[in-house]
Each structure stands twice: as C-alpha cells, then as structure tokens.
Symmetry: D2
C-alpha cells in the first residue's frame, strides 16, 4: 500500500498496452490515428472534463493532467490530441455562456464528439468580418492540432479595427484541411492547417467578441494549455526513463564493467538515480501547478491579475523543468540501452524526436526570460502570450 | 493576496534582519553563536516541535521545515543548530516512552533548554558497558552539532555483543567538549567532538536498548534528519539567489551589454529564471516529502517498511535536487554580482562554502545510487544509514 | 589570409555540395550509397593513405583526419565508410609484410578497390581452423562497416587454443552478406554482418598469426580506429552547428525577442558562442591527438607501451569531448532553427540520430573510466580493447 | 620517455614545493608576498620575456604561458603577479621605441626590477594634461595588479579631447598606493588602486600618444593579457584536480562503496576522467592559441586586423573552456576529498575562491557573446576591449 496513492484512470490504463505496442509503427507511418482515437472515445475518455451539469464526469484537472501524463509515456502525440480535446472543452466553459455550455457540451457528451484547436495566437491570417447575425470567416490557421477526425473546432480570428481576437467555435466540416503536417516528431497530432473560405459564423457560436478584453479568469485558458505541454513533456521523460529501465533490466553489462548484469552497473544505477530525481522535480512541480490552477479556476471571476500571474509562474517553472528532463531522459535512454537500442523498428528515438519537436513551439530561452523578468522586475508573464 | 500563502513563523521572521546583518562577521569569526542562540530561545522557537501534551506548540513538521529553510537563507549554520534541536525532540518522541516524553520535554519547554546531537552513526567509538541500573559510557563521538551551549544530548553508543546501537539522552555537562570544529563553511554549527569518560547512564535515560531492532516508524528519525539537510541546502540556494537578485537590482550592466541597468541584461534575466525554476523544483519536492513524512509519522507503529521506503525515496529525490541547486546558485551568485561582489567583508562566498561543506557528509554519488538501485532493482534505501 | 591555414582536400571539397544535397534523402532511404561511393573512388580519394611506395598519395594522417571530419559535417555515414577504407589500408601496413603491402595495396590503388572491416573485437563467432597452407574460416562477424560494395575485407578470427586473434584479409566475395543493418542513424554505413562458410584462407592473406602478441606499434591500429570515431563525432557536431548557424541567419527572431533578426538574438549568439568554444576544444584535442599518433606511428617498432599509452590517452580525451559536443550541438541545433526546423523532409534530426547511434559502440562511461584509472592509478588503457 | 615532452622551467619547478607549502597560510593572511616575490626575482624569472637584445632570456611565449600555468597550480595569485610583470615587458616592446626598449628593459634585467599594471581600460579616472616636455598625471586607477613592491608601472590615461588613451610608464614610487584590495580570492595579487597627484610624465616615458590609433599588432597587447588569464584559470583547474587526486589516493572509500580504497571507487574514477578530459581540452586550446599569438606577434606591423581577430577568437575559445573547468574542478575537488577536505587550515576552497574571483573581471556571458557574434555575423571581437 502506498502512503500517497496517485490517481490512475482505469479505462485509460486498460488501453495503454495496445497503444504502446503500436506506437513505433504509428510513429513511422505518421498520419491520423483513427483507430486509436476511436478507442479513446469508446472508453468514454472524451467526457472526463465535461461538467456533471452537462452530463460529464467533471474529473478534477489535477487528475486529468496525471492521466494525460500517463498516456504520454507511451504515446505523446495521442496524449496531445486527447488533452487538446479537453482544452477546447474548458475553453467553452471559460469563455462561453451557460447556454453555450449546454449547446456545445451536451452533444459532445451524448455523441462522443472530438474537438480540435484553431486558436494558435501567433497566426493572424484568419479574418472575421462582421455581418448581420454574426461574422464571415476567411483565411488560414496553422498548427491546428486534433483537427483531423474532429467534429468541432475552437478558433480565434482577427476582426479589423478591433483590439482583441474574436473567439468562437465552428463545425470542423466547414473548414478545408491542408495536408501540411509531416514533422520529425509528434507525428500523429494532426497539427495541420485549416482554411475557411467565406464561412458564416453565427453569433451563437461566438464565445468572446473582439472588443472584450479577456479577464484574468479567462486568460487561465492559456494556463490550461501550457500545463498540458508540461505534462506531455514530463510524460515523454517518464516513458523514456521507463524504456531505459526495461533495457537495463534485460541487458548484460558492458564487458569491462566488472559485473554481469547491467542493473548492477554503478554508472547505470546513478544515471537512473539522477534522471529519477530530476523527473520527480518536474512532476512534483507540475502537480503543484495543477493544484494552483484548480484553485485559481475555482475562484472564478474574482481572480486577480496577481493570482493569475502566480499560477502562470508556477506553470512556467514546471515547464522549464519538464522541457529539460524530456530532452535529457530521451537522450540518456540510449546510454541505458547501448547499441542494441538503435534499431529502427523499435524507434526508441521517438521519445527524443517527440520531445524535440514539441518543445520548440515556446522557446526555452523566452520561458526562462519570463521567469527572470518576474523575479528581477516583478513583471508577471504576459497572460495573452504563451503564459 | 496569494493563492497559496506559505507559512512564515512571525517570531523567526522578526529575527532575520539582525541575523542577516551579522552573518558575514560570524562566518569570519566562527565559534559559538551564543547571542543568536539566546535570541532564538527567547523568541520561543525551541518549543515549536514540542507536543501540546508537554506544553509545546506542536507546529506541523512541514511548517517547521519551511521555517528552517527560511532561517537558512540568511544563516545556514544557525538553522542547522535550531533544526537539530528539534531533531532531538522528535528523537525523544519517536524512541522514548510516554514517561520520557514528559521527563525530558516538559523541562525543555519550561526552562528553554537546547538539545545537541551525538548520534553520528558512522562513528562507533562511544562504548556503553552495562552496569546495574544502566550503563557506563566511555569514548568519543564526532560531529556533534549543537553541543556547545546545549543542555542535553541525544547519543548512540555501541554495546559489545549487541546487534544495534543503544540510543539515549544525557546532560551535555557530563561530556568533555573538544575544540575540533574549524571548517571552511557552516562554521557556527558547533559540530565538535565530545568525550565521555566513564559516565553513568541510568536506565531512565535509555531510549532504545541495543537488542531492539528499530521499527520502520522509529527509523523515520533518519528521515527527519535527512529532510533537515534538504531544507538547509534549499535555504542556502534561496539565500544565494536572493543575494544575487539584490546585486542585479543595484548594479549597472556590463559595459557591452547594450542596456544601462543590470536588471535589463537578458543573460542575467535568464540566469535568474533558470535558478528560480530549479530551486522551485527542489523546494516543491522538499515540501512534498515533508507532507509524506508527516503522513508516515502519523501512521505510528502501523507504518510498513515499504511506506517508510516511500518516504525515504521522496526525501532522497529532494536531496539530490537541493544539493545541486545549492552549489549552482551559490556559484552563479557571482555572475550576478560581478567583480564588485568579491569583497571579503561581505563574504558572499559563504553561501558556497556553507553548501560545499554541508553537502559532503552524505555524498551525492551514493544518494544517486540509492535512488538508482531502488528504481532498477526495487531495493529500498537502507533505513539505518543516511536514508 | 589566415594565420594558420587548415588543409582542405580539394577533390573532397568539390563533392561536398552534392553529398549535402542528397544527405537527407539517403538518410531516409538507408541502404547502400553506391553512387556516392563511386564518386569518392573516381575522385581518387581511396588512395589518400596508400604510401608512395605503392603508388599512393601518402597523405599525413592528421590531414586525412581533417578530411574525414569535413566529410562528416555533411554525411557522417559516408565519412565512416571512407575512413574505414583507410583504416584497413593502415591495418595492412601495420600488420602486413612488405610483400603484403605490395600484394594488397598496389591493386587497391590501380583498380580503385574498396576495403571493408570485419575486425569487430567483441564478436568472437568467426573461427579459423588451421589447415595445410592456411586456415578455413567459418562463422559470423557483425558490424562489418563498409562491407557492401567492397572488394576486400580485413578480419579477425578466433583460433582454438590460441591466445590472440588471427588477423587476415579476404576477398569480400567469399563472404555471405546479411541484410541486418537498419538503425536509427548512420544508416548508410553498411555495417552488416558477414558469414564465412568454410572458406579457405591462404597463408599469404594472414597478417598476424594467433600465437603472436601484437606489439605496441601494432596496437596503434586501435588508435587509428578510435581517432576516426573522434573525428566523425566532431564532424557531426560541426555540421549541426553549421546547419544551426544557417537557420539563425535566415530566420526572424522570436516575437518577444525585442529584435527583428534571429542573428541579433542574444541567446542565439551565446548558444553559438558556447557550442563554438566546446567544439573548438574537441577539434583542437583531436588535432593534437593526431599529431601524437603520427609521431608514434613514425617511431615504428621502437614504440614503447608507455608512448603508446600516451597516444591512447590523448585520443580518449578527445573522444570524450567529441562525444559530448556531438550530442549537445545536434540537440541545440533545434533551439536555433525553432519549430520550422522540424520538417521530416529536411531531416535535421539526422545529426542527432547519427551521433546518438555511433557514440554507443564504446560507452562514454567506460571511456571516462579509462581516463580516470589512468590518472588515479597510472593504468594505461588496455591496448587491445577500444583504446 | 614521453612522445611529446612539455617545457618545464627548472628554476620555477624548484620553487614550487615551498610555494605550495605556504599557499594556504598566505591565502588566509592576504597582503603582499614579499618573500615569495624576492625568490622569483632571485631565481631570474623576471628576465624570461626580456629579449636577448636587452640581455634577457627571450623565452618563447608559449613556454612562458606554460610556466605561468604551472605556477598557478600551486599559487594563482603569485602566478598573476609574475605573468603581469611579463605583460608589462611585452607592452614596452609592443608600444615602445627601440630606445625605450633599452631604456626600460636593460635596467629591468640588470637590477631585477618588477613591473606593475595601471592600464585597466574600464577605469578612466586617470587624466593626463599636456605640458611642455610631457604631461602631468592626476587621478586614480583601480585594480593595479602587482603594484606593491614593483619598481615601474605601465599606465593608460585619458587626455581631454583626444580619441585614444595615452600609454606610458612611470616609476611606482610616484604614485600613492591605496590599501583597497581584500577580496575572497586571488588575495596576494596586490590589485590595489594607485593615485597620481600632479605627477610630471616626461615624453621619454610615453609609449603611445593619445592621437594615435593602435595598430592590429599593437592591440595584441590585449591578447597577451587575455591569454595570461586563460592559463591562470587552467592552472587553477589543474591544481584543484591534482589536489583531488592526492586526496582520492590517500583516502578510504565511502562506506557503502563496496571497495576499500577511494581510488577504486568507480564514481571517483569517472569524475577524474571527465575533469581530465575537459581540462585537456582547455589546455590544448590554450596551447594552440599561444602558438597563434606567437605567429601573429612575429608578423609585426604586417599583421592584419583579420589575423589579429583570428588570434583573439582562439584565445576567447580557450578562455571559455578554462573559465568553466576552473570552476567545476575546484568545486568537484570536494567530492574527491569528502568531508575531511573541509578544514580551514588546509584551505582547499582557495582554488574555487581564486577561480571565482578572477573569472569575474571579464564576464563569461559577454565572452560567449563575442564568439557568437563572430560566428553568426562575422564580427571580430573589439580589439580594444577584453579581446
């Protein structure tokens, strides 16, 4: 019995062996994980973040983050897709009206709908033009993770003359999907571009108008997103460390090691010890940030900018730690396997490729800079930009 | 208002400015901090860990650890002395009978007594010989932190033919104090050797007889000690980072930096950002370990070896992180101050010397090894030896 | 004009653009680089190490190493194949008689023959059985880099009851080639296994009999091999750094960088600065080791075990430095490119995959151990084993 | 016999044991090393850099640098003083006329004079006012290493309305010495401030007038200075590693190490191996830079700005490597000694304090920046500023 049992979502745990078994092949082939996404849906995992009021399970986000992290140990691309589905659910909850909560989330639960993300804030090419009863959407949005196979998208669009982005939802079918995602890692996140060609967006689908500044409570959306990445990175690190430990357990020691079995090699022991400690630091910081985020979210509209800043600092710290351990664990994995771990069929390099690909969308240099400016100058991270 | 206010012991906070002001001079002079120890006692800080049953404050250990960490930011030697006083209190509570709790802790509270430590497990030169009604003690014990100026000592002694050490308490006045502590750091911990010369130890002072194996719950004593060190290291790191931040705020930038003020130097910002994140990882892991330790301690005699092992793993992880950040923050401090920080009067090198001295008593190599063996082979850290 | 012009083999330089242009595609496809090997041969690059006495160019090995390193910046697999060709040439020179020098190296020069390597010392499955006029060879040898498309192999074989391996050469056509090389990196080194099935090995092809201990001068063969790996790693690092520098020059800065162009980003500047310095350390150490190796080789049979040890220490030091910078430069490359560098078509991850694959065949842990044992205990690295 | 014997100045070697024996005490006391400076002079070591034309030894600078590095292994403060004496000699040679060479260096050799440094370029408080036959000097100059006990100073001064500093020499006795050097490390470098109070500076003592831009060949003076620092840092690192190796050889292993002697502890072996390799990288880069510097200096007035830049890049690379290893070796020293190495009497922390103090006068951040800007943008390091 453990002093401090951690939540493990049992339906997800049941899927992990199959997902692990196919992960190398799916990494090689890339493309869309239709079968696997169907299994996640059938297991009911799309309902985890939906409130009980809309018939969902309302799993606390700290537990949801742990579930995502666990999934990322075997497949960080699929974990990204599932996590981003839930990010869109919380986006509707944060920005939408009570009526919109019901209108979008009850069908999500009843029909097992998937949500994709078209809210990339750096890409301002999607334009919304006001018309009677809504807007017309035209333009492109890149890096729309989870779009393929989804039913609805959240999106941000620029409205001329307006200070803030319009936030809205739209049926995925209304957008053309471009086949432009073929990276070295995170290959099955479907992070393609989508194109809207003069699509009508009715007011009922608008979550936030472009003249409204987001409140501190609303900008927690970015915190929810950032903390997903933290847990993906930490999951990749844990998956790499676990793969390394398996290899060490199953291998003979190097021939000048002076011991027979690799588990008795002192250098392997200390390598595992250091990675374990560093990973524990990242995981603990991630869990702590999740608790703060849940506290902040529960505070609702009363949340102050300072409290919001406090959450974002906790997440940034965890992100720095998770970023670094994801790269070092996935690199050190090979010191654990030795040369026998370099077969392409096993694709053990996918941990590093996944970490390396995903960690670039928000550079470590500028994440450190946010933290340093806050400590030195008291500046909170900009809530509208990767924080 | 903070989302997650941390405990700050107000009486300790009130003492910090004076302790900080004299820290450099006391580091230079070394020796015994009689004045400062008197102020800690007068402030009532010796009662923090004493149970309410004995008239004490019964502060939860997670809060006590935070108080020690805070004190260590300005004076890690004094923090060690105060923390080790409380370590002896919990030692009496863990190993002593109810009668002993009253016999030793009520006077401690009423008379403001200090406790020192003569339990160094690596030094087996103190011998206890059974006699009628007790034992006779002879021999030396080294590294007895907090002995000078203390009223009572806890001690371990070897009894011939017995499998385990005898654990006991004795009045400090019964031991001769050797003047053999003059290190490069942690200079005011009074970690001298003490010598007993045929001293009678009555049964009433014996906490554990040498034929009794300690239970898992009892070996938590080592966990309490280890987690003190973790918090001392983390406190040193925080103190160094704070000193560096002060220097950056008050200094001009390097002349080719392209900015006027050092707070605007991007390299200083990112240095602070990285140290802040790494320190947060160590602190969070330390806090988490303290929660687990408190849980385990509360379980009492029911504690299993596995649960005890779980606590020791959490502490070892935090110790690895705190060890590393204490050295790197105290070294990087000087990149923040630049050459103007190298004056001997300010003694900013004391953070590094304190960290460097204290981190050697339990080598990082073998702490990593404990963690690695546990992850690879499932071996719990040896509860009787630095874990 | 440079103070210290470095050798650049002009025929090789002329080939680099084409090799660079096809490197990503050939990394993807793996298999045998027939076209590229033909071009290296046509350029006369197989003759570089052949002595003038046999009609070759007798390029000093320090220059040859620099040429290999340069080739490795664009294609470390092909560089491995070319370097190992020359390793077999020097093997014939070191172990062979004057008659064998002529018998094997004159045709190599005249006919543009390629040599492959079947001397992997860890694999003892190839057995030579003495018969009249020679031996019969049976068994398998793994990791025979450069075998495919080669004309001759050097090989080591075990002879029952004999203390040392037999060293010999054999026509590649006499061995069956197994299709068992499909790794994550160094994909075109053709490091397949070969199988001999009762093949007659005439005495004229035997370089060293199994009852002869190799002399210190002969064990320089391992030094030549080790220093090839050093220069491959350093070349990978240089290639990665150059790719990163190109990306930085062509990219816009991150949007919160406060500058327009990425070359003006202070963090990119300092990243490049650190990698440049560390790479220079590895390169300088590699060059210095090459000078020592050339000195030692020139000493011939007079070479003492201590002098041989001195060379191996210099190489081991350079190998540690090159190993580390190859991994860090190929990882940091992506901080330079940002997310736009993660396209699979460009395959910029091949630098890391190449480094990661190749650095595992002689673990860093035990290379450090050789150096440490030498410094602490005066033990020279074992000349028969990766040193 | 070694393949590649390194120069060891025998007169210096003979002094090292005594200097090592008193180093800890002199570090504690600080102040002026009069006795030790007298011994260096008596040994003839002040003549090493003086040309044969002025009766000196004209030791090649690469050898002189190695001698300085060797001295720095036991006493980096004294090494700084001796090296800076030679820096002033080369300054007179670089900037002075043939007549000045004779006028200043022949007495230096004949009378065994010491030179100190008042050329700190960041401090512009020393003013030279033109008068008939020369200038009048007034003002302060800080960080004038080697002033105490010296006979002559080189100095730079600001002349109003002039674009460049005036460079000159002056008798030390003409300046008032301030007692303002009491740092945590490099305690015996006598890097005090000096004050000139309306002192007449005759034209004969002027090396360079303030309207003359220095030529590339002249700005090599900064390269000579920078490379001194490189070798001081590398010497500190080597001294720390040697101290650590001695401690490992003389100590028992940690009690859970599984071996008796510390030299057999695998972690100690690999720690030494890594430090040895990194130090070798720094030393090799320093030697290489010294060869380039000697080449450049030999080129005389023909030296181009590009060639000068090439030298400065080589030195900057070596400086980065030496800076880093000086800090890590002096920190890791204590992992080698364990707790028994922390006695204040032995003062083994002086390696770290010396490294930490000396490395701050030219921040690593901006040294990396110079290298990065050169690699990315082709900008040579500014020859007038720490390069």
């Amino acid at each position: 019995m453990s002093l401090s049992p951690r939540f493990h979502e049992p339906r997800l745990q049941a899927l992990l062996p199959d997902l692990a078994a196919s992960a190398a092949a799916r990494d090689r082939d890339g493309g869309h994980a239709a079968t696997e996404k169907a299994r996640l849906r059938e297991a009911g995992l799309l309902n985890l973040s939906i409130p009980r009021a809309q018939g969902g399970e309302q799993l606390p986000w700290p537990d949801l983050y742990r579930a995502i992290r666990r999934l990322a140990t075997v497949d960080s691309a699929l974990a990204h897709v599932l996590a981003f589905h839930h990010l869109q659910v919380i986006t509707v909850l944060i920005y939408g009206s009570a009526a919109q909560h019901d209108a979008f989330l009850i069908p999500t639960r009843e029909q097992g709908l998937w949500w994709g993300n078209a809210m990339n804030p750096l890409d301002k090419r999607l334009i919304a033009t006001p018309v009677a009863g809504g807007y017309r959407l035209s333009g492109i949005k890149s890096f729309c993770s989870g779009t393929r196979g989804s039913d609805w998208l959240t999106l941000s669009a620029h409205v001329e003359g307006q200070p803030y982005p319009l936030l809205a939802v739209a049926p995925t079918a209304q957008a053309r999907q471009l086949d432009d995602w073929n990276p070295i890692g995170q290959r099955q996140t479907d992070s393609i571009s989508v194109q809207f060609e003069d699509v009508f967006l009715p007011d009922a689908q608008v979550l936030k108008r472009p003249n409204q500044a987001p409140t501190p409570a609303q900008t927690l959306r970015n915190c929810f997103a950032q903390l997903i990445l933290v847990n993906l990175y930490a999951g990749i690190a844990e998956g790499a460390l676990e793969a390394g430990i398996r290899a060490v357990r199953e291998s003979r020691a190097w021939n000048s090691a002076g011991v027979e079995q690799r588990v008795d090699d002192p250098f392997q022991q200390n390598r595992v010890g250091l990675l374990d400690a560093q990973l524990a630091g990242a995981q603990t910081a991630a869990d702590r940030a999740a608790e703060l985020l849940a506290l902040a979210h529960a505070r609702g509209a009363a949340l102050s900018a300072e409290e919001r800043g406090e959450v974002s600092v906790a997440i940034a710290r965890a992100k720095v730690l998770a970023h670094r351990i994801s790269l070092s664990a996935s690199q050190e994995l090979f010191e654990m396997t030795g040369a026998r771990g370099t077969g392409q069929a096993e694709a053990l390099d996918r941990f590093w490729r996944n970490a390396r690909t995903h960690t670039l969308h928000d550079p470590l240099d500028y994440k450190l800079n946010q933290l340093g400016r806050w400590r030195l100058k008291g500046e909170w991270p900009n809530p509208q930009f990767y924080a």
